[in-house]
Amino acid sequence: MGEALGNALVLVASGDATLLGIVGLSLFVSLSAVALATALGLPLGAVLAVAHFPGRRAVVVLLNALMGLPPVVVGLMVYLLLSRAGPLGSLGLLFTPGAMVIAQTVLILPIIAALCRQAVEDAWVEYQEQLRSLGVEGARAALTVLWDIRFSLLTAVLAGLGRASAEVGAVMIVGGNIDGVTRVMTTAIALETSKGDLPLALGLGLVLIAVVLALNAAAFLVREAAQKRYG
């Protein structure tokens, strides 16, 4: 363990170009996926929270269940879609960072949407009457509540980010772990482990944890500052 910690520090201090490339790509892929999943998932969750339609409860249960989608399964499905033999093969996205972003977006969209739905539904109890009194209904009401509780939605977004940065199954299958092109932290760790270089793998793992910790700390500070400002 001590050797691993030493490795991690040496890795970071050396500013190794390959490592920086891997960390950079990991951040690009996961943050892009989070951005996309948030842009799609928050409105989806908000509207689902306030809408009434037949089968609504089934949709809610399904969305909650999809939070547990196994990354390998998502990877496999996206692979089959993007493969040259598949429907979207002509896009040539397989084995590129783009494919990895798509796969991770699919993976974390249910998480962000479902957690958002719960948050908006809980807040809706408070806002509902007043908004309806003012003549605000439907999608507009959902989005007003969504925007009002935006800082507590940070937790949902962070949950998505955590899932994306930690998974290896999806990005391995659709990215191919190509050296210098689609190798991210998790696939690099898997590779070093399979090569038997456990100290290096562990060192990379610690770097990954540190990066995710830093992102979470930043988000926490943003939330605190906002709390003070908006009450």
Binding site: L36, G98, A99, D197
Partner: protein
């Protein structure tokens, strides 16, 4: 929603992963990649032609499947019968021999099956079978797995029906297999390249080597449906050219040559 458009643009810009540089996708095996050969070889080719070679490393079976689906432009593996079938079925254009390396039979220092130092791989397997000594198999349709199965056949052992709990199929790559063998003090068949770069040996050593039946031939094929046949063919032509062959021979780990070029031979 203007934000969405910006995101999509940003995403499209980076999704190719290599700002409009030409590239081909090569399906190869984990053992070849982990030997470090590509890290040594590919920069030479890229510098000469400006074509980036992206290697996706899988098991031999999966690499060939990737070729069948058209997700790779070139397939570079080491399982001659499977490769010839690939060409016969029309998926590959033509098979070229590239190089060979060898397999080694690895085992624990304690050597329960008493095979250390031997020169006969087939006899060694018979002894392992008799002693019911723990043996780790790749079990993943890889070239190494295939070679292992051929050796059991040569030893007149029907391993599919005659395996006991001493025979552990793990369905994973060479590295995990070595990790597992190291962890349980078992024998296994490994390619020399992965063995030389493997860092978690524990008390594993080479038990048997040098048997001609342990030689491992590599072949390279252009995928017929590739959209980049010209680039793919350029890579193949270089690999079997005098220059490419020389580069292969020049790759060493700890002063030892790993691969022996034999294209056109």
């Amino acid at each position: 929603m203007g934000l969405m458009r910006v995101l999509i643009l940003f995403f499209a810009l980076f999704s190719s992963g290599a700002d409009a540089q030409q590239y081909i996708t090569v399906a190869s095996t984990t053992s070849t990649e982990q030997s470090g050969l590509f890290k040594h070889l590919l920069p030479i080719f890229e510098k000469k032609t400006g074509i980036q070679v992206r290697v996706v490393a899988l098991g031999t079976g999966q690499a060939l499947d990737m070729g069948r689906r058209g997700d790779a432009d070139v397939v570079f593996v080491h399982a001659k019968p499977l490769e010839e079938k690939f060409v016969a079925e029309g998926f590959g254009v033509r098979r070229h021999e590239v190089m060979y390396n060898d397999f080694v039979l690895i085992g624990p220092k304690a050597d329960p099956a008493r095979i250390a130092g031997g020169k006969d791989a087939v006899q060694a397997l018979q002894r392992i079978h008799q002693a019911k000594a723990p043996f780790v198999s790749r079990g993943d349709r890889s070239g190494t797995h295939f070679a292992e199965l051929e050796l059991w056949k040569a030893a007149a052992i029907d391993i599919a029906h005659d395996k006991g709990s001493w025979y552990r199929e793990i369905g994973q790559g060479m590295g995990p297999a070595l990790n597992t063998a190291s962890g349980m003090g078992a024998y296994l068949l490994s390619d020399r390249g992965t063995w030389l770069s493997f860092k978690n040996r524990g008390d594993l050593v080479i038990a048997v080597e040098g048997d001609r039946r342990l030689f491992n031939q590599y072949g390279i094929m252009l995928v017929r449906t590739s959209a980049k046949s010209q680039l793919g063919q350029a890579f193949i032509d270089w690999v079997i050219s005098a220059e490419g062959q020389k580069a292969i021979a020049a790759y060493k780990i700890g002063g030892e040559q790993l691969f022996f070029p034999n294209a056109g031979g």
